[in-house]
């Protein structure tokens, strides 16, 4: 079985796994941050990721703003949309069961996806790579853009983790996760912090979307297709665990890549097999207890 596997095939699939893992990590991190502070299972995360890619496409095609400009602008635009969503949809539901938030955000996802599909159709729209070409590593060809995606996502994940675990703002977020009323009694405007945190999580999703635009087709369904995997990542890592979400994102990306090499038929389901085992043997998540907040 292993005799036919070349180093090129293995390295190529691992690279794809790493790229996918980068997106899984960034998306699941945003989801974990939102869940950790707000107890909201943000089903609109995939749609917000798709919106990031679409805004980048619109900026390029209608305003001539290139990828690097979109990398800054699109997350801001989509985060503003997230702030409005939080105010209008999530705030009225904040004292109700998780299920209400989940259903409300799922509705938002369906509406956004439907509107984009109605306006731009279902077929994907191409987005040019801002970093064409690549480097020959001998055993494989490494496109520059994919290298950029891996490095930038690592930096973003590390930066976000440092922000939450090692800054004063992060202390507020972790404390508000435990006892929001007590943090408010210290004079901190927790409702505003919650709104901004949602905006930040949405901005991260949009940033992932901009980065995904040159790799995948920009299409209305790009969010919904990745969303179910992202939820599996968050469940396996431990709901609300940021470091768990990031590490599980990369691990599952690799695992998918390896499965494509050794048993391609199982590649699409391996994540869910892991999730079932995690739920049975580590229901709080693989990384529960591995960070301060656990």
């Amino acid at each position: 079985m292993f005799d036919n596997i070349s180093i090129q095939l293995l390295a190529g699939q691992l690279l794809i796994g790493l790229i996918n893992g980068s997106f899984y990590a960034m998306l699941s991190m945003g989801l974990a941050i939102i869940f950790g502070l707000m107890n909201v299972v943000n089903f609109a995360h995939g749609a917000q990721y798709m919106l990031g890619a679409f805004v980048a496409w619109l900026l390029l095609n209608f305003l001539g703003i290139n990828y690097w400009g979109a990398l800054v602008l699109a997350p801001i635009v989509v985060a503003l949309f997230g702030l409005v969503t939080e105010k209008l949809v999530l705030k009225p539901l904040q004292n109700l069961d998780h299920l209400y938030g989940l259903l409300a955000t799922y509705s938002v996802a369906l509406i956004v996806e439907g509107l984009v599909r109605q306006q731009y159709g279902s077929t994907g729209l191409p987005y040019p790579s801002p970093l064409p070409g690549g480097v020959n590593l001998g055993f494989m060809f490494m496109p520059w853009y994919r290298l950029w995606v891996v490095v930038f996502s690592l930096v973003t994940c590390l930066g976000t983790w440092l922000l939450i675990e090692h800054t004063r703002l992060g202390s507020y977020l972790r404390a508000a996760n435990e006892r929001p009323q007590m943090v408010e009694a210290f004079g901190i405007n927790v409702p505003r912090m919650v709104t901004l945190t949602y905006g930040f999580g949405v901005g991260l999703a949009a940033l992932s979307g901009v980065m995904a635009a040159p790799v995948y087709q920009v299409s209305p369904s790009m969010g919904s297709s990745v969303m179910i995997v992202i939820f599996a990542v968050v469940v396996i890592g431990g709901m609300g665990s940021i470091i768990g979400a990031v590490l599980t994102g990369y691990l599952l990306g690799f695992l998918e890549g390896l499965t494509k090499v050794f048993y391609p038929e199982a590649a699409n389901m391996v994540v869910f097999v892991v999730m079932i085992f995690a739920l049975i043997f580590r229901p709080n998540g693989l990384f529960a207890g591995s960070e301060k907040s656990r």
């Binding site: 404390a175 943090v183 408010e184 301060k292």
Partner: protein, 237 residues
């Protein structure tokens, strides 16, 4: 607007509800500048609810809470805190995900005179030794010290303390008592919820007796000593 005779904090006809269940039925009392006042009463009388209502932590409230002449009844919790009232809850609310040092430095300085981390660690040497530990690894007494030390960071001069002696060994209760007396000497105004009568007697100027969500008596410590039988009837002991 304040003067020496006007109360610093005036609670008038305060009513409060947990969902549809009414917990306070018209609490009325005043807290004067520099005073240490206790709220005493049986379990469920409404003492903790009174503190939480003053802090705006109950959504449904009616009546009046005036602080330095300003009405607070419609204010949000963080707005009330920023005006100079700090709250230390009965369960101490030490954050499990934060270290002792992080717990201590969590509250922002809201008023002039808020203590720095270093000043607090000097004042509470036990906490300095445990600064790197997670907050919930401390003993009950250390957690209580941390909970009180933490609110001193804010610079608030009015402290609402909910049963700081609860569940602590007698020797630790003495330490907490000494700390509270020190705070009073430093000019803090303190509203203290306490079930331990001896402890309350040892630190406070006046005692407000609470029953069924309303004030039924106000006693000085001398009156408390003189008519202990009446007080014990109130407390059901």
């Amino acid at each position: 607007m304040t003067n020496d005779t006007a109360p610093l904090l005036s609670v008038q006809n305060l009513c409060a509800w947990y969902a549809e269940s009414q917990a306070l039925h018209g609490m009325t009392f005043d807290l004067r500048q520099g005073e240490l006042l206790t709220l005493i009463g049986r379990n469920g009388a409404g003492k903790t609810t009174t503190l939480r209502s003053i802090m705006g932590m109950l959504r449904k409230r009616q009546g009046s809470i005036r602080f330095k002449g300003e009405e607070l009844i419609a204010r949000k919790t963080y707005e009330i805190a920023r005006r100079g009232i700090a709250y230390c809850p009965e369960e101490r609310a030490i954050f499990a995900s934060l270290s002792v040092k992080e717990n201590l430095s969590l509250p922002p300085v809201l008023q002039p005179g808020g203590m720095s981390d270093e000043a607090l660690l000097d004042a509470f040497p036990n906490l300095r030794r445990r600064a790197g530990s997670m907050g919930t690894k401390l003993s009950g007494g250390e957690q209580q010290m941390l909970a009180i030390a933490r609110i001193l960071r804010t610079g608030s001069r009015v402290l609402l303390l909910d049963e700081p002696s609860e569940g602590l060994a007698p020797v630790v209760v003495k330490e907490i008592g000494a700390l509270i007396r020190r705070l009073k000497e430093q000019g803090f105004t303190i509203l203290l919820v306490e079930q331990n009568l001896r402890f309350a007697r040892s630190v406070a100027d006046r005692h407000v007796v609470v029953e069924n969500g309303r004030v039924v008596d106000v006693l000085t410590s001398a009156q408390l000593d003189a008519d202990m039988a009446r007080v014990q009837t109130y407390l059901g002991v």
